[in-house]
Symmetry: C2
Subunit: 137 residues, 2 copies
């Protein structure tokens, strides 16, 4: 069981946040997570603030924010440092990027769908898929 006085181990933090253990160490190495205190034996001992921070990071990553965006959002989330305008700038820039990707994927879906549909699957001299890929321009 968890003994609160000894802190939260990296494995427990991983389970609590759904973030891979190796990823937590990676986040520490890139200074996205602060280096936590250690036990006598050198094991990481986290506390509730680390759980919160990592959960925040996970949510942001799930929403597709890049690491540098997350870093900026974390800075802006600090008390007395809150600048909602900057936060919104980051979020809306990301939203625009998502929309661009979306547009791209929709176009892509249409082409693939149209081509696959025209493919009979039989051994015919002309395959519409290969045809499309091989055509100039």
């Amino acid at each position: 069981m968890v003994t609160a006085s000894r802190g939260i181990s990296i494995g427990q933090l991983a389970k609590a946040t759904g973030v891979n253990l190796e990823t937590i160490r990676y986040y520490e190495s890139i200074r996205l997570m602060p280096p936590p205190p250690r036990t006598r034996g050198g094991h990481r001992a986290y506390d509730r603030t680390h759980v919160q921070r990592l959960a925040f990071i996970r949510h942001a990553r799930e929403l597709g924010f890049g690491i540098e965006d997350v870093r900026a959002l974390l800075r802006l989330a600090e008390p007395d440092r809150r600048s909602c305008a900057e936060v919104r700038d980051i979020a809306s820039a990301h939203l625009a990027a998502v929309r661009a990707k979306l547009t791209h994927l929709v176009a892509l879906e249409r082409i693939l769908d149209g081509t696959v549909e025209r493919c009979s699957g039989e051994q015919v001299p002309i395959c519409p898929i290969l045809d499309m890929l091989g055509r100039p321009s």
Copy 2:
């Protein structure tokens, strides 16, 4: 000017296909493009078949096919090796992946849009974006 007798240089191939010169060398290193003949001085000398192959690769990559898929498609595009069914399998698997990504991005767009919309941009005690990111679960 292009002197056909001396072959097409890697730079000309790059321009002709819109593929980055470094990328062409990379494709050669992973055996996606065959090693072309060289000039006395060691410069790559391509011909029309290389242009076709690279154009095919570029189209497939633009449609989001992974390198290994492209490799398979190229094999299946060889004469007497055409198996339209296999081609369709690759393409429809990719289509499914695209649709999954699409679904994901749509959901993501909705969340971001909803949150950004609720953000006034003013210095308020509660920022809906940070709030969303910081909330548990």
